[in-house]
């Protein structure tokens, strides 16, 4: 039985202590720890990473996994030594896990702002380091980083004259199919939408479908529609949409392509039930069950589906179809390819030097080759993919299709307006592909979202000019 007197004293002091803590805890946001003391800047350590720094890296754990980051982490530790360690933390919900850290003033030293849950760039634009210095530094191969990568990569991460993102993976966005399946059935991949319709009929005869989709990845088909519209109507199509011009979605090319897609949906060319199917399971309907002939995705698809791909599946890339080849702004071979997977370094990071050093390791041949070997996808670093694509048909065809496009390569998804403004149009695409809303209703919904983003004065606006 507790004796009142002892307990009394104990409790009185405990309560007093609690009150003290409470009063101390009433402050709000704004308290941020100061950056750690920088180390000496040397040739080996151009950013001056301090000794014994624990570099904190957050990596998006998606189709590419995080093995490559761990490899690069090892390279950094070897390069700098001095007790510096690099910790890789995987995450697949960037906003939720990093928002508290940003507000609390303790963001990671570098992170990949990727995935469906990425942080809208407008929200953190003024909290990211300008990586201009990084691009001008020599990588582990002794080459300036901006020279070590393909042309145009550096500019993709530019916002208001500051280089905020360093995009890492050269991603091809296109249709994908199995060459072996097509050969078996005597099918030819189509170049126009009406040929698509014919192919759909042939596929149905064999109890197959043209396309499949999953609810989290319905926007992939928005990319397909826009790619096709851009090829047909010119790069202005995407410029207008990205600049939130009213009526941009009612552009003739966009409307017509959407109409074609609506026709295919109505004809039952999509595997049914997509609106209720998780996206990797839907993708498996294409790669494993081969119920669908085509799937639109970025070139991560091979790595993502490697556990669920049928034997003998020869994954091959294919450009988006045109409406009318004679009247198109770009040739059929034009494809969308650009650097994706943006790496950023927050200004308030404990060690921005550590973050940049990690990027320096990534953007060097050894780490880049390792990435391609692990994920069968090319990085932006030149000369890191062998001709045979490490034995991957998808990788080889990716390189082939990109070369085939030559100067007609265009890019927009990697730094899309919807990621910038945080536009939530995915549910409308799910409804559209599921046949619940019409193309016109979809256009109206997109117009409304763009108008709302344009009217939001609390966020900065970006001038898009993809043709540059």
């Amino acid at each position: 039985m507790p004796r009142p007197s002892r307990r009394t004293a104990l409790n009185a002091s405990a309560t007093a202590a609690a009150l003290c803590l409470v009063l101390a805890g009433c402050a709000g946001p704004g308290a941020s720890p100061s950056e750690s003391e920088g180390g000496a800047v040397t040739d080996k350590n151009p950013f001056g990473v301090a000794a014994n720094t624990k570099v904190d890296i957050v990596v998006f754990d998606g189709g590419y996994g995080t093995e490559y980051a761990k490899y690069a982490a090892g390279l950094v530790e070897k390069q700098i030594g001095d007790g510096v360690t690099v910790q890789i933390t995987p995450s697949n919900n960037l906003s939720q896990s990093l928002q508290p850290r940003f507000v609390g003033g303790t963001p990671p030293d570098s992170f990949t702002n990727d995935g469906a849950d990425a942080i809208p760039i407008t929200s953190i634009q003024d909290q990211l380091e300008d990586l201009g210095e990084f691009w001008d530094t020599k990588n582990y191969d002794g080459v300036k980083v901006s020279d070590a990568v393909f042309p145009g990569v550096k500019e993709v991460g530019e916002y208001d004259d500051a280089y905020l993102n360093a995009n890492y993976v050269m991603t091809l966005f296109s249709l994908w199919y199995s060459q072996s399946l097509f050969e078996e059935n005597g099918w030819k991949p189509p170049t126009t939408w009406s040929e698509m319709g014919d192919l759909c009929t042939e596929a149905k005869a064999k109890d197959k479908y043209l396309f499949t989709f999953g609810k989290e990845a319905a926007v992939y088909y928005q990319w397909l529609v826009l790619d096709s519209a851009i090829k047909q109507g010119g790069i202005d199509v995407i410029d207008d949409i990205s600049n939130l011009e009213p009526g941009a979605w009612s552009n003739a090319a966009v409307k017509d392509v959407l109409g074609e897609m609506e026709g295919l949906i109505d004809d039952g060319c999509f595997v049914p039930g997509g609106a209720g199917t998780q996206f990797t399971q839907a993708q498996a309907q294409w790669s494993n069950d081969q119920d669908a002939l085509f799937y639109y995705s970025g070139s991560w698809i091979e790595s993502e589906m490697k556990e669920a791909t049928a034997d003998g599946f020869e994954m091959t890339a294919w450009p988006a179809p045109l409406l009318d080849a004679g009247d198109a702004a770009l040739p059929f071979e034009a494809v969308q390819a650009g650097p994706a997977i943006p790496w950023a370094v927050p200004k308030a990071a404990a060690s921005t030097a550590g973050g940049k050093e990690f990027l320096r390791a990534l953007f060097s041949k050894e780490a880049a080759s390792k990435f391609s070997e692990l994920t069968l996808a090319p990085t932006v670093v030149k000369d890191t993919v062998p001709a045979d694509g490490f034995g991957s048909s998808a990788l080889a065809s990716t390189m082939g299709v990109m070369e085939g496009a030559g100067d007609d390569l265009f890019s927009w998804v990697s730094n899309s307006y919807s990621g910038y403004y945080g536009i939530q149009d995915a549910p409308y695409w799910v409804s559209f592909l599921g046949g619940d809303i019409t193309a016109q209703e979809l256009i109206d919904a997109e117009e409304k979202l763009s108008a709302a983003a344009a009217a939001d004065t609390s966020k900065p606006k970006k001038e898009y000019d993809y043709g540059k």
């Binding site: 039985m1 507790p2 009142p4 307990r7 803590l21 409470v22 101390a24 805890g25 009433c26 402050a27 709000g28 946001p29 308290a31 754990d61 998606g62 189709g63 996994g65 933390t89 995987p90 697949n92 919900n93 939720q96 896990s97 508290p100 850290r101 507000v103 609390g104 989290e216 998780q278 996206f279 990797t280 399971q281 498996a284 494993n288 069950d289 993502e304 589906m305 556990e307 669920a308």
Partner: protein
């Protein structure tokens, strides 16, 4: 329920017996359907947890080719389900004890002592239950950070306790209100102080109620999602709810559905076992919570 009155309207007996049989049959049939709906999803989950990814992507009814525990191993190590489970047991257990203690103390004082502001406190706590936890999480993040309790066990537990307090207080209030006054008087006469009265007399009398509310609280704390997501961001310290959510997302990306099912099974089995073992006692204490 143990009265033994007999129905004396003899003329109705035969018809009644047939009617009884009809009702019994119908009841059993409907309840059996209900049982199937309850149990089958679990059985299916267990069966699927032994399948490989390709088998799962095949037919829902196919039996696994072999009963390998690979998925379980993967879920345990890669997903860290084991660690999350222990974390949750620790956090929920500590929170439950603390909230039951503080909640019953608070309910006792509010119910049996008259003082200014008593009613205000009660109503404010009630109203607070209507506010979504989301509103509190960002400010709470800063408060904990400034107190140095962010990402610590005590910080998380205190948050859990604070949010379960109104509910606990509310339920136990009416319970304490209805304890008989004469026992209290007797204790006073015996010279027992406030502390002793509570712990030695009032609390034991309220045990059945405490048991019921504890069970209710357990579910709420076990399912608490937003608080740990924002206040408990160290992956090693995840609790089950956030751990499973993260794993579901990453399993989706890595197409490891077998492991996902295995993880689900691992979160269910321990609690299920505890329930089956203790369910008699549960029935007893819950029934005991009845007052005449």
């Amino acid at each position: 329920m143990s009265a033994t009155t007999l129905d004396r309207a003899a003329g109705r007996t035969a018809r009644t017996r047939r009617g009884d049989l009809g009702v019994a049959t119908a009841s059993h049939a409907l309840l059996s359907i209900w049982m199937i709906i309850v149990i089958v999803p679990f059985l299916w989950t267990v069966m699927s947890s032994f399948k490989t990814t390709k088998e799962i992507l095949g037919s829902p009814f196919s039996l696994p080719a072999e009963l390998s525990f690979d998925n379980y191993v993967k879920a345990w190590t890669d997903a860290g389900i084991g660690r999350y489970f222990f974390n949750t047991v620790f956090v929920v257990g500590s929170s439950l004890i603390l909230v039951m203690l503080l909640g019953s103390m608070l309910a006792y004082v509010l119910a049996r002592f008259r003082f200014r502001g008593n009613r205000v406190i009660y109503n404010v706590m009630l109203a607070a239950m209507a506010f979504p936890v989301f509103l509190a999480i960002v400010p709470l993040f800063f408060i904990l950070q400034n107190m140095g309790l962010l990402n610590t066990w005590p910080g998380l537990i205190l948050a859990y306790v604070a949010f379960a307090l109104p509910f606990t207080m509310f339920f136990l209030y009416s319970f304490f209100k209805q304890l008989p006054h004469d026992v209290y008087e007797a204790a006073l006469i015996d010279g027992a102080g406030d502390w002793r009265t509570f712990f030695a007399i009032m609390l034991p009398m309220a045990t059945p109620g405490i048991a019921s509310v504890a069970i209710l609280n357990f579910l709420g704390l076990w399912n608490q999602f937003l608080l740990p997501v924002v206040l408990n961001t160290n992956r090693d310290n995840f609790v089950i709810s956030q751990g499973m959510a993260t794993f579901a997302a990453s399993a989706g990306y890595s197409i490891d559905f077998g492991a996902l099912f295995a993880a689900a099974v691992m979160t269910i089995i321990p609690v299920l076992i505890v329930y089956v073992v203790f369910q008699r006692k549960l029935q007893g204490s819950v029934a005991q919570g009845t007052f005449r």
